[in-house]
Each structure stands twice: as C-alpha cells, then as structure tokens.
Symmetry: C2
Subunit: 696 residues, 2 copies
C-alpha cells in the first residue's frame, strides 16, 4: 500500500471547472411578449427518467453499469421523430450520442455504459426527420401510384440538402443519387433507389438538426466503485481484540483477526471511532453518566488532550499501526472503513480553539447532544447555524481529507441527519470530485424522507429499517420501495441485523434460528449488508433490560473479550452465505428483486436475478423461529423467465439438497430447528437426456 | 350583448409584465468550488404537488376553486419546522402567505382559493422555528426538573430577539415577558409563562426567517371561468337549419332552434366553421373528391374569393346575423363556440398573399393535408416549419382575436395536434393574458401523450377517447387515469358519444338502448360533455359502409334536413339528464369519481360526489344494449362517507323509483329495452321516525 501525503483541504484550481449545476438551460414557459427562440422546433421532450427532483440531484451508478434512460419524445402531426441520448463525463465538454429506440406510447429508450469513476451528465434531444417521414409516406402512397414523379423530386431535394452536410465522399454519392431520382426513364429503378436501405443508411448520418429540441436539463450521474453496490461489512471494536481478557486491545491485536474475517468472506472491516476519548462526562459501563477512573469511555466521545478527529487514541497504537492495519487488510481483500462522528467531547481541542462553533447558553454552558430518546452527556454538537459556518465546514471536511490522505477509502458517518444537509452535499461532492473512489455510508436511523435526502445529497450507502422489518408483509413492502421505485436511483441499502446500538427484539427471543434467518435475509435482500460481528457470530442476545433493544454490557462503554471459537458460533454459516454471495452475481445487485406470494405469511419468498438471467437465486425463509411452517409458494415464472410448462432445478447451497420443481405452485416446509431457510440456485432445464447434467 | 371593437393582435405594453417563466430561481446543485449562498439554511423542500414537468406548465383551476398544495418540508435533526405556502396573482408582486399543516411522513399541506380569472403563482417556504423547538424541549425536560433556570434564560433570549422584529406594542410585551422569565423568585410562575399559549401566539407572529429555505420554483395556475369545468355542448350545422328541405340554412334559421336547445339544457352551441368555402377540389356528397356545381362542400375547406378565417360564408348570412345569434343565445344561457381550423382551401386569400406559409413541392404544387387515414384534398396545411413562422403566428393568432373582438368566448380548435406545439402555447397564453375568460377546446383525437401535451400547452378542454371506450374495464381504466392522476391537473375531458366525423360501432348496432347508455355515461362520467345534436337525438346510425365509423350522407358534405319532432327523438331523455346535471353539483366536477366493483362486467357502476359530500350521484349502466343483466354491486362505502351499518336511500331521477339499500352489497337488474341505466341520487338516513322524509 502506498500512503500518499496529506491532501490540502482546499482544492487546486482546475480548468475546465466541472459544472455541478443540474442544468444550464432550464426550459422556461413562454414570455407573453416574445416569441420562443425557435418556433420551428416541433418536438417535445418530457418525462426523462431517471431524473431526481427535476435534476436537482444525481443518480447513482457503479463502474461498468449500463445506464438506461427513457423519455417521451414526440412531435405534432405524423412525421417521423428521432430521439437521441447524449452523455459525457462531467469534466469533458464533448457529448457522446446514442440513438434511442421507440417503445409504445411515444416513449423512447437508450442506454450507455459508465466506464470511469466520477460524474457523468446525460440529456435527450429530438427532431423531426424529414427524409424518413418522406420515405415512409412515399412507400405508403406507392400502391396508389399517384404523384410518384413529384414525390421523387421532393426526395431528391432532401438528399441534396443532406449532401451539403455530408463528407465530400458521401456528398458525391448523395448528389448522384439525387440526380438519379430526378431523371431517367426507368421509373421503377428510381422508386427502388428512393426506398433503398443503402440510401437510408447514408441519409441517417446527416440529419437536418436545424430545428432540434433540447430537453434543457443536463442530468447528473455519480459513478462509484463496484463496492458501493456490493459489499459485506464486519464491525468490531479494536479495543476488544486483546488476547488477554481485560487488556485494552490494539490495532496490532485487531490485525490478527483479519485472516479469520477474510475467510468468512467480508470485504469491509468497519471500526468505531479510533480517536482520543474525552474524560469530561465520560460514560461508564452500561451508559452510566459517570465513569470510574479506569473505564475506557465511549469511542464516540471524541477528543481529548491527545487530540481530536485527526489523532489516534493512544491505547490503540500509533498512526503507523493503523496504516499497517489498513495495508494488511487490503492484502486480504478487505477495506477498512473509518467511523466519522462530527461531534466533540468537552475536552476536544475544537471546543477550546473554536468556541464560535458551539452554541453557548446564557450561562456559558453548552447543551449536550441528543438524538431522542438518547442523551449524549459526553458529547457537544457543532452548531451548524453558527455565523462562522464556512470555516467550520472547511475544517470538518479536512478531517475526511486527512484520512483519505492516509489511504482510507470508506467512511461510515455517524448520525449524519443531525448535521446540516447543505454541509453534506458540499463536503461529499467536493471530496468526490478529487477522490471519486471514496464512499460514505450514512448511519441515519431516522424518518424516511431524511434518510432518502441524505442519499440524494451524496451518501453512497445507507443503513436501513431492515433491522426492524420482520414480517413478510413488512419485508416485501419495504424492499419493494427500496428496489423497485425511484428510491433505488439515490439510496443504496446496507442491511444490518444488529449494531452495537441495536439488539432487535427478534434476536433477543428467537434463539439461533432467528440469527440465521436474519443473516440470510440481510445477505440476500441486500447486495450490501453488515453485522456487528462478534456479538452476532456468538449469538449475543441479552438486552440492557427487558423491553430495551440495547445490549447489556455494551462494547460502546467497556472492553469485551469474545470467545470466537465457541462451538455455537455462526462463523461457518456466515462463511457459506458469503461464499454464495460471491459466486452468485444475482446477489450482488438489488435491481432484480422479486417477491413471490406464499399462502403462509410466516414464510417469505423472493428471488434475485442478473439482468441477463444467467444467474437466479431463490430464497425462502421461515420467519417464525419457533415452529415448523409449510406453505405453497406461487412463483412469478414470467418474471424469472421460466416457461410455465418447464421443469427447473433448485439447488440449496447450504444443505446441498436438489429439488425438481414444475410450474408456479410448489410446496415448501421449513423447520427452524434444522435450518430456517432455503437458499436456492435456480437452474433451468436446457439439455437432452444424453447429457449428464440437465440444468444450467 | 355588447360587441367590443376589434382588438389589436399586438398586446399593449403593461407594467409589471407577467413573468410566465416557471421559476426565477431554479435550485442548483452545488458548485464544487464555492459554498452555497446560505449554509445556515437547514430546511429542505421537495416534491411540491401539484407540479407539472418541474413547473414547466401551469395547472388548471376554475374561479372559486380551492387549491390544495402539498410538499415535503423537513430539516436535519429534531427541531420544529414551519412550512409556509405562498401565492399571488401573477400580475402582482406581493405574496399572500398561508401556513401549511403537517401530515404524516414530513408531508405538509396548505390551501387557498382562486378568486380572479387569469394566472396565479404558488411556492413553498420553510424554516426552523427555534422558539417552538425550545418550548417543546423545555416542556419535555420539565418532569426531570434539570437545568430549568438556564433553559428559561435561553427562552428569554429568543423572546428578546423576536421583540426586535415586532411592532412597538408587541415588542414591549415580549420584552416584559423576557424579563419575567429571567428573574423572579417564583420559578413555577416563570415556567408557566414560558409555556403559555399567550406567549406562543405572539411569538409565532415574529419568526426568525434569517435562514429560510425557498422551494425555488414558482409554479403557475391558470384560472378559468367555471364553464371550463362544467359545460354541456350541442353541435349543429346552421346550413341544415332551414325550414324547407333542400334550402341552405342561415344563422336566422339557426336562431329559431335556440329555445329548444336551451330547454334541453345545453349551455354551449358549437358551430362548424362558418367561413367561405373554397371551390377548388371541393368535396362532394359522402366525401366524393369531386363536387357537383350545386354541392355546398365541407365547411372545413376554408377560404374563397369572399374571404378567409375572418369572413362569413355568404349563404349563412352576414356578420350582423352571426352577432345577433350570439346575443340571442347568450340571453338563453348559451354561449356560441366557433370552430377554428387553421388550414386553407386552395382559394383562401392566404394562399395567394402568403405563399411563404405553405410548403411547395419542386413542381410548384402544394401537398394537401392528411390526418391518416383521412385525406383532405380540399385543404392545404400551413407549413409550421416555414422561416416566416413569426408573422404567420401573428396572423393566425389574429383570427382568434378578431372573433374575440366580436364577442366570441369559446373556440373549438380543429386538429390542433397537426399544428406546432409552440404556436399553441404562445397563442393561447398571450390571448388569455388579456382575455382570461376565453376557452379553447382541443379537437385532438390522437396519441395520449400528444393529447395531454396540448392540455399542458394551454387548451382548456379536450375531446377524449370516451367515444371508443365501451366496456366496464375500459371505462374504469381510462376515467381513473383522467380523473385520479396528475392528468387531471392539465387535461379537462369533454365527452362526446358522437361527432360529425365519428359514428361509433356501438351506436350503429346497439339501437336506442345504446344511445341512452352512451348519453348517460357521457353526461355523468364527464362534467363536460357534448353531442353532435340532431344526429344523436334522432338516433342516426347508418354508416358510410359496413365497418366504417363515418356517417352516410354526412352533413360535412351536404345539407341535411332533420325532423326534430320525430316521436323516437331522445329529446325528452336528454332534457332529464341535463336537468339532473344542473341540479346535482356532484356531476359538475370530475374530481370525486369513484368506480365500484360489480360482479357482472356488463354492468358499470360509479359515483360522483361533492367535496363536502352534501351531494352524491350513483350511476349503474348496462353496457349490453341487447340483454337484461343482473349483478351484485359492491359499493366502496368508506369513499362515499356511508357507514357500513347505515341504511341509505337511492332515488332514480329518471324513473323516480326509490330504493332502500343497506351495506356495501346490493343487487341491480337492468333491462335495456326498458331503460339501460340507473341514475341515482344517494341520500343518507338522517332523521327520526317523527319526520316525514328520513333522508337527505
């Protein structure tokens, strides 16, 4: 790993400066006094999709994605219309054009591939194609045989006009054809030429774009690395990694766990904040407002005499140790994600150096942070309404740039919804301009509109309500919203069955089967998912108190020692599930998620498929961790590309059982005490009896 | 009637010039180099509805309508947000503000009433309310009793700041209250004041709007006269109104029919073009490409030596006769609608005076107009791609202005979809600026996107596909799209069971029951409907040829003589139906149309209701004109505001039968040979046994 030097928080000037505005020419309704700029432009372009909030926000894609764009493009009357999709990298001024093809009802579709990180722009153009209109009408009129000579003259005129726009070589050919259309005694030959494919193919290269209509808005795309779409996260506290119980773990201890985490199939290791922890109002065990002298405090109580967000908590090791951890992880295919929590312990240097960034009450005190019903007595919030917001923004952004300079590419941002929206848009947009490979995970557990807004403003991934969605109705409704509506353009779900903050009720009471069910759901409903690892692997399920969803003896407030070799560990199952995710591209995207009805609501059934249908995964989960459930599954065969009469094979990648199914309706029985889920690869019957393996 | 003088086609200058642009400040994504203009503005405003194509087009309302606006308005964190709706007449610069009230999920709603014709604008603002946030948190913290004195100081500071924005009187009160909060030994009294309603009521008058967020787009409304929403059209050819068969009818003859038309309950009399008819390529009987010397030709072959679109066909009478007809009609509550067809017979003065407005072929000829599969050999289209489009637009608009100057307020525009979109937007917008009472009916029978675009561009009403929607599935699907989606904001349906161009198959084969069924459907599904009168009243049903949907011996090409007193005339039923429309406000709007399931697809059932539910109409139609059908209707009682257990009364306004229904499920039997429909007034049970009439 190379560790580049610290990047200056102020961007160097560059030309051309990328224009991040949604559009330079928003279409305007007519001014009553004046004519429109081009009254001869006859095409209307409407309803371009995807388009987020009239182009105010970009859509999200990853490297190599095909971007499909649709639009309504039509003209008055009955002339033939051409619709053209245009795209470019935002830093380039030249457009690439892709012809769109017509769908029913004046809808057009085109697509292109994004092959570089960073921002792209796209828009749509349209115009009336006089040659094709003429050609179509000419063909229609041929059987009646009227006016053929004059119509040939009209065609010749259009060809002549195209010649004026053509290369010298094509112009010569076109002029020769125009001449042939105009004269000659062999009318049949002239007609034949007029409607010939050869002529058409040259003509379409030189369209008359005099009266072209521009959609007006140039819509943006943010292209991220593939990890933005498909990632498998493991969270642990380095301070709990010591070999000897009770000792404060270090980055070096943490490094020793990397091979195990890599073998389980994780590709992101997410660490809670690694900065010095404040002493004032430090939290004790189980969120006690006062800590004993040896208690370590919460890693989110950031900042002490040792430094703030750019420093490292001394007990974890040195900056070099941290960089070594990053390097070692990367060698194992794991990226380290840092937790950035923009808040300060009362001991943070910012509190002393920048009192203007905190809101003081009339008695000189600062109100501690709250995220109702949670109280953070050890934390001061920044005042995003301060008149000194601009220098504060610069400094807060510089925290990310500092760590990016050290080689960090992933940030999990703590409670971004309690910081100003405008800050995030500015910070993420400007950081990604120079570092398009950097990703931001939003840890916003808040109202849906706010969560989606953070996605629009720039966060690459987000935590979701998955943590609390347990019934088949809840899962279908929520994941249909996330994956089958416009939400999918701006919000990439990252599914967590647990976090250090959240031990859901379902896990508290459902035993091992509940953990397995939630693992399978997270890993298959979400192309990205993560777990608060040790606690999940070991089935940790005791809450702080009955009715609470916090862990007792939470690692947030104390050092824990985990017996990761415990025989009940879920490590083996996690490994199998993650292997399945790696070997099945269908699970690496949320785009083609389909829920299939089951006549027993305790069973949920859904499928994922690659766009080319070469890989199909079918999942059935028994959501009741206590009882055996049986149900008839009704597969939507048309959506899977399976013909009604066809036999198809299901291979359970966990149990290695094979099933032959036929038709839409099939029976499933799941005993949670054996295993609460089927994770099927679906293979269609494609070979003859002479082959050994009939399915692919 | 007063006949104002001709209005100049060029609008007089006025100040302030109305700004018809959708927005003066489209929100822009961040420029990478610079900070946003106000980094302290914490509110986001999204998803304002209604909003058509990002504000590119206005929504439509009529005088007196309440306009309900919704938006997502939210801030980061947990502070209290205020959302404010703003509106103004477009010609005024001062906004009127209406506080919005919160709905679930960060959605807000507000409404206002439009009380003047012309254009309005609306937009949304939002800001964080620090006083209300403080007050809420203070109340929440009270039970714990911590930090009360310092929190009172914080409140006092906010009150002091509001005082600086207040009137002198309120400022004095606020300052006195701030002082009380700060000091005094009676803590309870200070707390009581802090959370008092009295203080809050003064504080909300002086919000801190320093960091307000503007939605950015100012969206437009076109406010039309009520007739735009509710109108009943009757079409006839004045030339067929002569008392003596074979004679060419006149405006004077037409005038004699006005009392009969008024008695039937029509409020619009629509006349096909009344201009001089060309001689060249004049059409003969039944669309014969050649006419005999005495044949009258098609009124749509406009223009002859006698003049063009501003002249009157001499055989119909004089301009004075026409103006007299308008005046007499208005006295009877009928508005005369003119047909404007922007096309020319080869004899039109425009063809001679403005050859540059027509596209000539290389042999000097002009291609006649087509609207596939129809051919109009007697008509030249204007070339909307001419380089001389601007003066042509001015002249074409001047046709409307000429007739507006004569007192005409309604125009039925022939085939607007074969003229340039941009022309219509410019012409209608500029005409309505000075004549907001003028309405335009779009006769566009074409693809759905084009029909809706014409509505967006300015047409007040439009013909629809009703003419061909016959089954219950078709009717429910189409009218749900028209009335329950965004379409209703920009497209006002006008339903026609027939036109001189269209004799639908259903009418050809269904006998009298078919005519009655289509009449009831048109008159109740559409707040606006019309009929090509004499042919409909008399059940004219013979097509040009089997499989064609044109009339034989169509009035388009010849003079007809109608025996309007025929005993089979539908006049009496039409009168009853129109009376029902007039006396039931539920039928005067399409907003609250609900379809109710019936277990027999040959029966269609739907209801209309006023917004306040004081008037409810329930319609059941047997769509099979040949057989008796029986079916169970399942009323959506919740949508009708009827409680499940309640008894309710149905009064058939045609048969005057009364029914008592109970619950959602009720049986209907309709014999088309008696009457194919029920047209029920629904009355809920509200009185006691002591009253005579239990329902209202």
């Amino acid at each position: 790993m190379t560790v580049p030097g610290t990047t200056s928080p102020r961007m160097p000037a560059r030309a051309p400066s990328p224009d991040l505005s949604p559009t330079s020419a928003h279409p305007r309704a007519l001014d009553a006094e004046s004519f429109p700029p081009n009254g001869q432009a006859r095409v209307l372009i409407e309803n371009v999709r995807p388009e987020i909030d009239a182009g105010r926000y970009p859509i999200k894609r990853v490297l190599g994605d095909r971007v499909g764009i649709q639009a309504d493009v039509f003209a008055d009357g009955h002339d033939v219309v051409v619709a053209m999709l245009r795209y470019r990298r935002e830093t380039e001024s030249e457009w690439v054009e892709v012809p769109m093809h017509p769908l029913p009802n004046d809808r057009w579709e085109g697509e292109f591939k994004v092959v570089e990180l960073g921002r792209y722009r796209y828009t749509v153009l349209g115009w009336v194609d006089h040659f094709r209109s003429w050609r179509r009408d000419f063909e229609r009129r041929l059987p009646a045989g009227v006016d053929i000579p004059v119509n040939l003259l009209v065609g010749a005129e259009l060809i002549e006009q195209a010649a004026a726009r053509a290369t010298a070589e094509d112009a010569a050919r076109l002029r020769a054809w125009a001449d042939k259309l105009r004269q000659g005694t062999d009318l049949d030959a002239r007609v034949h030429l007029a409607i010939s494919e050869e002529l058409l193919q040259v003509m379409v290269r030189y369209p008359d774009r005099q009266h072209v209509t521009h959609y007006g808005r140039e819509l943006a795309i943010v292209v991220d690395p593939p990890r933005a779409r498909f990632s498998t996260w493991y969270e642990l506290f380095p301070r709990s990694c010591a070999a000897i119980p009770g000792q404060h773990g270090t980055f070096k201890d943490c490094e020793k766990q990397l091979p195990r985490i890599a073998e389980m199939g994780f590709d992101v290791l997410y660490l809670p904040p690694i900065h010095p922890i404040g002493r004032s109002f430090r939290k004790g065990k189980n969120n006690n407002p006062t800590a004993g002298p040896t208690e370590p405090g919460s890693p989110w109580g950031i900042g002490a005499v040792e430094g703030g967000h750019k420093a490292i908590h001394p007990q974890l090791g040195t900056l070099e140790d941290f960089l070594h951890l990053i390097q070692r992880a990367r060698e194992l295919g794991i990226e380290v994600a840092m937790d950035i929590a923009l808040q300060c312990s009362p001991d943070h240097p910012y509190v002393r150096d920048h009192p203007e960034w905190f809101r003081r009450r009339p008695d000189g005190t600062i109100q501690y942070a709250e995220n109702p019903p949670k109280k953070y007595q050890d934390i001061y919030p920044f005042d995003f309404e301060t008149d000194h917001w601009a220098p504060m923004w610069e400094e807060l952004r510089s925290i990310f740039l500092f760590w990016i300079g050290k080689g960090v590419k992933l940030f999990r941002v703590d409670n971004p919804h309690t910081k100003a929206f405008a800050f995030w848009e500015w910070a993420i947009t400007t950081i990604k301009r120079d570092h398009p490979e950097v990703l931001f995970l939003s840890e916003a557990f808040t109202r849906p509109k706010v969560m989606y807004a953070l996605g629009k403003l720039g966060f690459s991934q987000s935590y979701t309500y998955f943590t609390w969605r347990n019934t088949s109705w809840e899962l279908e409704r929520y994941f249909t919203e996330l994956t089958q509506t416009e939400v999918r353009e701006i919000f990439r779900p990252n599914l967590w069955p647990n976090t250090p903050d959240i031990l859901p009720e379902y896990l508290q009471h459902g035993g091992r089967a509940a953990f397995i069910a939630r693992l399978i759901l997270a890993a298959t409903l979400g192309a990205s998912y993560g777990m608060y690892g040790p606690a999940f692997e070991l089935g940790e399920r005791q809450p702080l108190a009955p009715g609470k969803e916090e862990y007792i003896n939470s690692e947030k407030y104390e050092i824990r020692h985990w017996n990761l070799d415990h025989p009940d560990s879920l490590q083996e199952i996690i490994t199998l599930v993650n292997q399945c995710r790696k070997s099945n591209p269908a699970l690496q995207s949320d785009e083609h998620l389909v829920f299939h009805p089951v006549d027993n609501p305790e069973l949920v059934c859904f499928s994922k498929q690659t766009a080319d249908r070469s890989n199909t995964i079918l999942v059935v989960v028994n959501l009741d961790p206590h009882h055996v459930h049986t149900g008839w599954v009704h597969l939507k065969l048309d959506q899977l590309g399976i013909h009604g009469g066809e036999q198809y094979q299901l291979h359970d990648v966990i149990s290695h059982e094979f099933y032959l199914w036929h038709g839409a309706r099939n029976l499933v029985r799941l005993d949670p005490h054996i295993f609460p889920a089927h994770l099927f690869q679906v293979r269609r019957y494609v070979r003859t009896e002479r082959d050994f393996d009939y399915f692919f």
